[in-house]
Amino acid sequence: MIFEGSNEVEAAVRGVLADVLGLFPERAAAMTDVTPLFGAMPELDSMAVAGVLTELEDRLGILIEDDEVDGDMLESFGSLVAFVAAKSLT
């Protein structure tokens, strides 16, 4: 899948979080750049993080190295989208 721009990436990240964490559509749709993720969202435990990362890899055809995964990347919806966009738009 080739992504034209960051809107598609944002939609993909939103879809992955909704699917992996089982979020209701309204809650997934309400996430903005500043919505906090890791540490703030009870569904996002370490196992769910693994699922989110692997599903992003599957869905966007990217590879995320373990040393790229840190608290900053997962801090907010916006930071995760920015990380994934940098990976998939290059």
């Binding site: 899948m1 699917d19 769910a48 699922g51 599903e55 890899e57 599957d58 966007l60 055809g61 373990d66």
Partner: protein
């Protein structure tokens, strides 16, 4: 899901070179049938109810189904620590041999298990190769690529299985590959629905189950 279909579900067993395992049999004993390979470990638990829904829908269309326990899964006496890929492949092949002409249906890493079986064809849903599975397990366990063994969601995984999986690939021979509509990767077709193997709470997806069974019916009868 009719009462009639329920009456045609039964628990049976099959023998393979390493012992005896249970197999759920759905639908008629003759005519077309599928045998299902679930993914390994946690994803297997998460996709089991989807697989059973699909098998019931296929029963309603006159297609029989087999859902075997494999050594290390379900009710098997083998612990997950003793799971080896070759044993699962051989057991799956033995279960398939109880129903000559059977078609294989594999979900995710289940596609690594159907290699040794004699099948009329292979139908793979979002197949996952061994390298990707290992990367995910290491992520879940929080361990690096050099860790000799892993504990994945409460299951101890033996070094031998990790070794088996390193270069394991889904069999490509006579295979039809389906993916979800929003997934990446090569596919012969896409299906609507959500990746139930990702959901931390097991749940079903009736839309996906219907789409899978429709595609399988067309594939078998074409």
């Amino acid at each position: 899901m009719t009462g009639h279909a329920d009456n045609r579900l039964r628990i049976d067993s099959y023998d393979w070179r390493g012992g005896r395992e249970a197999v759920l049999r759905f639908g008629p004993d003759h005519g077309p049938a599928v045998i299902v390979a679930l993914p390994l470990l946690e994803e297997g638990n998460r996709t089991r109810s989807l697989a059973v829904s699909v098998l019931r829908l296929l029963t309603d269309r006159g297609i029989g189904g087999l859902l075997p326990d494999l050594p290390g899964t379900g009710e098997s006496m083998t612990s997950t620590e003793e799971m080896r890929l070759a044993n699962m492949q051989d057991a799956f092949a033995a279960a398939a041999a109880t129903r000559p002409g059977v078609h294989g249906v594999a979900i995710r890493s289940g596609a690594l298990i159907d290699r040794a079986a004699t099948l009329a064809g292979r139908w793979h849903l979002s197949p996952q190769d061994g390298a990707s599975l290992l990367r995910e397990w290491r992520r879940i366990a929080g361990q690096g690529a050099d860790a000799p063994s892993l504990a994945v969601a409460g299951n101890a995984v033996a070094p031998g299985l990790l070794e088996d999986l390193r270069e394991a690939e889904p069999a490509k021979h006579n295979a039809r590959t389906l993916r979800l509509a929003n997934g990446a990767g090569r596919a012969d077709g896409t299906l609507p629905g959500s990746p139930v193997w990702r959901h931390s709470e097991p749940r079903n997806d009736p839309v996906l189950a219907q789409a899978i069974s429709d595609d399988i019916v067309r594939w078998i009868l074409m």
